[in-house]
Structure formats: C-alpha cells, structure tokens
C-alpha cells in the first residue's frame, strides 16, 4: 500500500475529520502529566513525548459496570423479592491517536487472556473491535524505554492500525492493518512515498538510540527457580512502597477487581483496575494471605510478566517495554534490573526443603 503524508498544519483538520464519527483520544498535557483525553477543536495533542498514563482505558476502563441489577418486591407479599440482571456494555467507536507502538502492543497481551476459544470477555472484546490505533513511531526514546529488548522496536506497527512517523514538515502515514484503511481515506493526506527513506532513517536512529538490546528470555526459567529464594525477592523489593503506580500505568497489566455497589433496590457490579502489589489483592476471607509481603507480590508481578505468562502463552512476554513502571515509580524500582539480576544472580536454595 502507498505511504501517505500528513503536513503538520493539517493535523488538527485530520483529527477533526476522525472525531466527526468517533471518539478520538489524544495525549494532552495537564500540569506536567500527559494523559489521553477526547479530542475536540482547540485541543493540542502532545506528540513529542510518552504519555504518563497509557491509553489502556480506551479498551479497559479503570472502572466499568459489568452488569446492573434490580430488586423488585412482590406487592402481594413484601417478603418476596425478585432480582433481575442486565448486561451493561459501553463500547463507543474510538480512535486512539498518538499513542506509541508499545501502548498499542499492550493489548496483544490482553487479547491472549481476554479473548480465547474458551472464554471471551464480552465488554473487552466489543471495545477491542471498536477501537483503532493511530500510533506514532518514536524518534527519540527515553532512558527507561526498552522495547527493543522484548522483541519490539520504536516503530513496531504490530497491534496498530496506522503508523505515523515524524518526518520533516509532518508525518509519514502508513496503514498497518486492514481496518486502518478507513482512517486514511482523507483528502488531507497526500502521497508520501518519497518520504519512506527519511522515515526509515528516523526508525533506525531511534532504534540505535535505545542502545544494545538484552535478552530477557532466560528469566522464564530463572524466575521459577527463584520462587523459593525469598532473600532475593526481599532484596529487590526493599524499596518498593507497595503502591499500584507500576501496574495501573502498565499497558499490559490486566488484573481487575469486581465489587458490587448498591443504592436502595438497584445497583451495579463493577469491574475496576486492581493491582497485585496490594496486600488486599489476595487476602482471603479467613485472614490468610498467600502473598503477605511486598516481596511475595513483586515476585508475582515480575514472575507473571517474564515467566508465567510466556510459559502459558507459548513465548510472548507480558511486557511492552514502555518503561513507565520505572519512570513513574516513586522510588525508581527498575524491572529491567530485577529481571537481569534474576538471570545473573545465583539462586539460594532454601534451608529446609
């Protein structure tokens, strides 16, 4: 397919076109944070750096109703109460504009869990089908970026529908999926084939700026080997303060909580982001907690991403290399370092085993 060109001064117009029929989420600045918000005329997208909060909520909202319920009293016999439930799904047609390749790839990690031959998460699936990604290739990665080490790159279009690459005067626009075609049918886009070479240079320079890739795959076996090595986990989790910033801001972290909220005779069962870093995540009604300390919990987070998930799903790591868990951690816990140490450090054998 032909490459197209979007001039800088046509960006707003194109966003306007896209937003005519859909919800378009763009990264915007609020104080020093960049977050995704619905595009409207006058909104200036921030396209020169990674957003603090990835566009995860576009397909996996921080909170959504899984269903609503309503109790009805039998007027003849007030002790008799019937209940009915209704599926609630909100899946507006959406374009996520200006996310990075890692942001879009995060959903590939979701897909293997949320949409399987045995189980389909209905609301997720509907939103996934209704959401398209116009992704911006990175021209200058940040210090915490490591997509090249988990089998991706700053211009990896997997999981995206359209890939934009910054070139002089605008963006090279390339379709990355069948579904992306409908988005690029715009008179605002002109022939961009002549800029392909420039885009390639941008890609190559971004990749080289990331530095040499390291190989996390030995961690798959090593993390299992270190399961009982609590000394290791206490050491690497010492500074963790057990908040959920790493998981909530992770494009691949997909765990959730389910709680009921009732007001009078009706209410909703809501699904909300949850975090395995929280003590409450695995706390059982009996008071027993299989993951009682932050060392146990950090072990699960790193273990799940780099060992259990690849083991279950035949290889892929549940990490997109965006580095937010590092850059936005209040105490700079560095998952790259933990994975590397898990590979390099000898495993201590527990004494009484």
């Amino acid at each position: 397919m032909d490459a197209l060109f979007l001039a800088d001064d046509k960006l707003s117009a194109w966003l306007g076109e896209l937003a005519a029929a859909r919800r378009v989420l763009v990264p915007v600045r609020e104080r020093e944070a960049v977050v995704f918000r619905p595009y409207a005329a006058g909104v200036t997208p921030v396209l020169d750096r990674q957003a603090n909060v990835p566009p995860k909520a576009s397909v996996f909202p921080a909170s959504e109703a899984l269903m609503s319920f309503r109790y009805t009293k039998n007027p003849e016999n007030l002790g008799q109460v019937a209940v009915e439930v209704h599926e609630t799904i909100d899946a507006p047609p959406t374009v996520v504009f200006g996310g990075r390749p890692c942001d879009a790839r995060g959903f590939l990690v979701f897909d293997r869990v949320y949409d399987t031959p045995k189980i389909q998460d209905t609301a997720y699936k509907k939103r996934r089908e209704n959401t398209l990604f116009v992704t911006l290739a990175c021209d200058d990665p940040q210090n915490t970026c490591f997509c090249n080490s988990i089998g991706s790159s700053p211009y990896d279009a997997t999981g995206s529908d359209v890939l934009l690459t910054p070139v002089s005067g605008g963006y090279l626009v390339e379709c990355a999926s069948e579904r992306g075609k409908e988005l690029v049918e715009s008179k605002l886009l002109s022939d961009g084939n002549a800029l392909r070479e420039e885009a390639k240079t941008v890609h190559a320079s971004a990749l080289s700026a990331l530095g040499p890739a390291w190989n996390p795959s030995p961690a798959k076996a090593k993390l299992i080997e270190k399961f009982e090595d609590m000394g290791f986990w206490e050491d690497v989790s010492a500074k963790c303060i057990s908040c959920g910033a790493c998981t909530y801001l992770c494009p691949t972290c997909y765990c959730f909580n389910v709680t009921d909220e009732r007001t009078g005779m009706k209410g909703e069962r809501i699904r909300t982001w949850d975090t395995c870093m929280s003590y409450l995540f695995t706390l059982e009604a009996s008071g027993h907690n299989p993951r009682p300390t932050k060392a146990h919990r950090l072990k699960n987070r790193v273990g799940h991403k780099f060992s259990y998930y690849p083991e279950i799903h035949g290889g892929p790591i549940a990490c997109c290399g965006c580095g937010r868990c590092i850059s936005l951690c209040p105490v700079s816990v560095d998952i790259r370092e933990i994975v590397r140490l898990s590979i390099e450090r000898p495993t201590a054998k527990p004494e009484n085993k």
Binding site: E30, V35, V53, D140, T144, I241, G244, E261, P330
Partner: protein
C-alpha cells in the same frame, strides 16, 4: 572530608549495631537517585547525597517489624517525619538510629521537566547530570543545559525552617544557620480564588487520579496502608469506581487524617505519577493547624499532636467567646 564521606564513615561505624541503614544510591539514570538499603560495608560505597536525593526515607520505618534496628539518613524535612512517628509511638526510639544531614534544598524533578520542556527537551532523555556553581547541569539530546538550582528547587525548600535534621544520633557536615519564614503565602494566594474556581481547579486535577495510592504509600505518616478505608469493603466507605467523587473523597480522608501530623514533606505530590498538586491540600490543613494551635508537626518529640490531645479549653480557640 566531604559531607558525603563523613556520612559514609558514620554509617560504617554504626552499621554493626544495625540490621539495615537506609540511604540514597544512584538510580536508573543520571537524574534519579533511589532508596539504598545498606547491610554491608560494601554497600556504603554506593551511598550518594546531593540535591537529587528527594525521597523521604522515613516512610520505610513503619514497614519493619519491631525486632529490627533501622538506621535512616534524613534531611531536615525528613527528620520531622521521624519525630512525628516517635510522637505517635509508631516507632521506638531505641530501634531507630538517625543519621542527620544539613540540606540546602533538593531539586523538584517536575520543575526540571518543565524547564526542559520549555526548551523543547525531554527530561526522560537526560544523559548526564551534575551540579556546578549553584546550577544543575544536564546533557540532553546533545545539548548541555544549565538550570539554576534556584529555579528548579522544590518549593518546600524555599520556605524551609528546618534545614538541619531536628533529631539525630549522628550528624554529618556543618549545620545551616539560616531559616526561611513560612507564611503560607501559596495557600493564601490560592484562596483568593472563588469557591467555584477552586472547586473547578480540583475537579480538573482529581480527574487524572488513577487511584494507585502512591501518595498514600509514599507518605511516612499514612500508616494504615494495607487496611486503608479507601479500598476496604468492611467498612465500605468509598466505592472502587474511578469517579471524581471517589477520588476526591479519598484525598479528603487522606488529608484530614494527616491534619496536625503532616510535616509537609511533599512526598504525596512527588510520588503522584500524574502530577496532582496534593501538597496544597496538606498545606491548607497545616496552615489551619498553625493558626488554631500554634503547632508545627514533627518538631518536638515530646509534644502531643493537637488532634491527638483533648483539652477542655484550647489556648488559642476561644470557644466560650463565640
């Protein structure tokens, strides 16, 4: 001997009495320091102290069982949290060894980010950082940028009355003699806006909250943590929805529970991954406490925090005169 070397020598000397000493070490890039847990002399070499040592390490003191003896390195502001924890008997004096420091101020990485963004540069791409002649010198995207510390220093440092650790078992370096007045001018300025304007401001800020609880968990004094009513079902005070109501409600509970206890170290705001100006809420309560009780949290280990203390007639509240 440099302050940093003096501190290292003190830690080496006292380490045999302690299970761990918590200080700062080099983080993942040149602009970031990270909490360092020292258990051996070899670890001491990794210790760093400079204006990038932003974390208040006293938040870790309540995370160890009472059997451990913990050493903690503190700046002036951090030391007030230690005092407050002692006042509330949340830690035991004989289990904590305080390595106190004088501090001329720390950098606010939010300001560094803004200063660089103004030059179309990204803090996430800084390759080198150092301090020279009162400037933070950074190398980013091939350019060397000098940022005067006065411009990128944390706001709390500009109004600091406690540059020196107010409690310590060891003190490295020379005490700083000056102390700035804190008139709560920032709070007063904010309050010049109408109620509607202020509400609108907070609405916009809270909208970004992801309920990650970094603010709560970075706070040295928000000690409920694993049993927080923001997440508990019994009692079920706050739903898990991500509405403004829930976010605001949690922050209000967080702030009011810290009234008269908060030392305004600003860790809540620094920890926030979406830059919500949470310290302003705490400052408002700090101002009220100062005016009502003439009290500054975490300055006197023997003082009883005013809201933990019942007096029939408060000295500064003329209830009967109303």
């Amino acid at each position: 001997m440099s302050l940093q070397d003096e501190l290292k020598a003190q830690i080496v000397k006292r380490l045999p009495e302690l299970d761990v000493v918590i200080g700062w070490g080099q983080g993942y890039d040149s602009l970031h320091r990270t909490p360092l847990f020292i258990t051996s002399e070899a670890d001491v070499d990794k210790l760093v102290f400079d204006p990038l040592c932003v974390h208040n390490l006293s938040t870790y003191l309540t995370r160890y069982g009472s059997a451990k003896r913990i050493g903690v390195v503190v700046k002036g502001c951090d030391s007030r949290s230690v005092v407050e924890l002692l006042q509330e008997k949340l830690i035991h004096r004989d289990k904590v060894m305080v390595f106190g420091l004088p501090c001329e101020g720390v950098a606010d990485l939010g300001k560094v980010k803004r200063a660089l963004a103004a030059k179309d540069l990204d803090m996430g791409r800084v390759r080198a950082a150092s301090f020279a002649d009162g400037d933070l010198v950074v190398t980013v995207s091939g350019q060397e940028i000098r940022l005067p510390m006065a411009e990128v220093q944390a706001d709390k440092c500009g109004r600091c009355r406690y540059h020196n650790a107010v409690i310590h078992d060891e003190f490295a370096g020379q005490p700083i003699t000056e102390a700035a007045p804190d008139t709560y001018a920032d709070v007063a300025a904010f309050e010049e806006q109408t109620l509607e304007e202020r509400m609108e401001f907070w609405r916009e800020q809270m909208e970004r909250c992801v309920r990650c609880y970094a603010c709560r968990n970075a706070c040295p004094l928000c000690v409920c943590r694993d049993y927080c009513i923001g997440q508990s079902r019994e009692p079920n005070w706050v739903s898990q929805r991500d509405g403004l109501e829930e976010k605001f409600f949690f922050q209000m509970i967080h702030a009011t529970h810290l009234a008269g206890r908060c030392t305004e170290c600003g860790e809540c705001e620094r920890a926030c991954p979406v830059d919500i100006p949470l310290l302003l809420l705490k400052r408002k309560l700090g101002k009220e406490i100062l005016e009502l009780f003439d009290y500054r949290a975490g300055t006197d280990p023997d003082a009883k925090p005013p809201l933990l203390n019942f007096k029939v007639q408060e000295d500064t509240i003329n209830e009967r005169g109303w």
